[in-house]
């Protein structure tokens, strides 16, 4: 087992854990939303690493002949879905952060314990 071939997986695991660490210790909701986006980006790395083939090109046969060695298009398509869903989650959470700041005057999650109803 060559460690380099498992590096993309380790990067994905690291991104996930470091992102969740940021969410757990965050003292600002905007920062927490950004950390969640970091954790989510680990899924892009994992998906693309799974579909990667050595010495292969992108699965687009516009200017390369059909049959050229190409990476898996399915995970690329899933990563696209992932990016879109990630951006919508970020937008919704930021809107919630705006509302929280407006109503409670703080963005510190530690001060939200007295949250009512």
């Amino acid at each position: 087992m060559k460690p380099l071939e498992y590096l993309p997986y380790l990067v994905a695991a690291w991104l996930f854990l470091v992102g969740v660490y940021g969410v757990v210790t965050s003292r600002n909701l905007i920062h927490a939303v950004t950390c969640l986006a970091v954790a989510q980006s680990s899924t892009y790395v994992l998906l693309l690493a799974i579909g990667f083939r050595r010495d292969a090109t992108a699965p687009i046969f516009f200017d390369v002949p059909l049959g050229t060695r190409a990476v898996d298009p399915v995970v690329a398509s899933l990563a696209l879905t992932d990016v879109v869903v990630g951006s919508t989650v970020t937008a919704l959470l930021l809107a919630l952060a705006v509302q929280i700041h407006k109503r409670l005057g703080t963005l510190d999650p530690n001060e939200l314990r007295s949250m009512k109803g």
Partner: protein, 255 residues
């Protein structure tokens, strides 16, 4: 829970999760060695079957087109959700758009920024349309091109005042464009149902591989998605700008 306790609890849990992840990932085939059948099969059959040279687009908008329809509606629901969350609340007064941060003046937009922004507007919009329209041929498509198109609105904001953006962004028109984009996807799906017997069946003529009008329904779906994404992102952008520039803080009812 105190921050230090929370950090310690997280580190203990992360050590377990990280260990399990590394253990599990060790069982995956090494990156670069691909054994899955689907990618190999699709890379062989997608171009002859769908006449789309971008196999990722063929997968996204054809082979798993219904999945992408769900994704499009996730985006739609999220934009509606943001619009609802950021609606004008009771006790909040709309005031004239202010181009300043509360309590301190912000230097006005320089002429250099204005000129650069307006000079980039045309090319950016053209590029967005290009990315949407060529999604079935080269990298790109409705999602990517839609976001590029929406940056056009951001350029208008950067090079003018928010008032200008409001003028070029009639809310109703953008709202309708977003709904039309989302609805058009379903209409194309129903067309496949009527013409080909199954929902989202690629029933349009496939044309010549590599030409702009080819690949059947993938191009119209890309256009629908591009419209929806562009309108959705313009809406998101203006909802957030509205919060800081137009709505007063008079609605703050903190405990």
């Amino acid at each position: 829970m105190r921050p230090a306790t929370r950090r310690r609890a997280f580190l203990a849990a992360a050590a377990v999760v990280g260990g399990l992840l590394v253990w599990g990932m060790g069982g995956l085939p090494p990156a670069g060695v691909y054994n899955g059948p689907y990618g190999l099969v699709l890379n062989q059959v997608a171009v002859p079957e769908r006449h789309a040279t971008n196999v990722v687009a063929a997968v996204t908008f054809d082979y798993r087109g219904i999945d992408t329809m769900g994704e499009e509606f996730i985006l739609f629901a999220a934009v509606v959700g943001v619009a609802i969350l950021l609606r004008t609340m009771r006790g909040e007064a709309e005031h004239e758009p202010e181009e300043e941060v509360r309590g301190r003046d912000v230097p006005g937009t320089s002429n250099a920024v204005r000129v650069a922004g307006l000079a980039m507007l045309g090319p950016i919009v053209l590029y967005g349309i290009y990315v949407v329209a060529h999604g079935h041929l080269t990298p790109g498509g409705g999602f990517q091109g839609g976001v590029v198109l929406a940056t056009g609105a951001l350029l208008v904001y950067l090079s003018g005042e928010y008032v200008t953006l409001r003028r070029v962004r009639p809310v109703n028109a953008v709202d309708r464009a977003e709904a039309a984009g989302a609805g058009a996807y379903v209409v194309i799906g129903l067309f496949g149902l009527v013409a080909g017997g199954s929902f989202l069946y690629n029933a349009l003529p496939l044309g010549t591989t590599g030409e702009l009008v080819s690949a059947g329904t993938i191009l119209p779906i890309n256009v629908a998605v591009g419209l929806e994404v562009a309108a959705g992102f313009v809406l998101l952008l203006s909802e957030f700008l509205e919060q800081t520039l137009v709505l007063g803080a008079s609605g703050r009812t903190g405990p």
